[in-house]
Symmetry: C2
Subunit: 137 residues, 2 copies
Amino acid sequence: MTKQRKVILEELHKVTSHPTADMVYEMVRKRLPHISLGTVYRNLEDLADQGEIRKLSIDGTRMRFDGNPEEHTHIRCIVCGRVDDIHFAPTVSMQDSISDNGYKILGHKLEFYGKCSECRKKDEIMKAKEKKRKSKD
Amino acid sequence: MTKQRKVILEELHKVTSHPTADMVYEMVRKRLPHISLGTVYRNLEDLADQGEIRKLSIDGTRMRFDGNPEEHTHIRCIVCGRVDDIHFAPTVSMQDSISDNGYKILGHKLEFYGKCSECRKKDEIMKAKEKKRKSKD
DNA sequence: GTAATTGCAAAAATTTTGCCTCATA
DNA sequence: TATGAGGCAAAATTTTTGCAATTAC
């Protein structure tokens, strides 16, 4: 456990925002200005392998990282892309069987998507403006 | 609807293997040898926007594409990475409400993971070899 | 004929890797 | 001191984009 790895893990525990590797790099750089991006990638990979953190493939083309390694459910905003944890836990059954595809099922990932409160607010502001504009015509 | 887009869609309908953009490119190239990768990317993007296909962020760092736009559940092999459709349908409720995070929920993605039959077979072969090796000691 | 789309190539974005140096146990 | 990890930079991988030429309607 090097200084670098310790700080990466600490910073990841501070947030619930599921940052990308680059975001983690920026967070960590405030405390360790000489750390390199390669080190961040290597440690995130190692930490995920050891089950200390989780790698999330939910945001298009880049990985996000979650300081909470326990199984939990996410919710992603389809407008701005932010990913939050969800605090009610819908249960999904049928996990410890072998499926019709011949798979031995080991677990599942559940992700909801929708619009976050900020993006919904923006929508309403847009709608209000639209209405105003129309009433002027 | 250009020839290129038509062929891309057709090829995607032929398979259930959830190919990457590059795989789609290779599939399409057999029929349209001069198509460019950029065109494949642009069309996959457009088709997904129109709801004709689905973009899947389940395989690490690159997108996969699904010719079946309907909501359905996937299963991914943690060993070889292949992604199949799942034919039993676990239901997940609580979609048309607003969650504790202030999100307006619009839908969900459910993905199981486990070991595919091929990788389980390989495991067993490995185990058998291991046993044989030990008995020799 | 006009607007949209393609092919090509360059650029951008993200992740991985090699290699030498430095830190840790 | 030896082993493993870090820093840096180059390379690899994946995706996006600009632009001239072509195609679809």
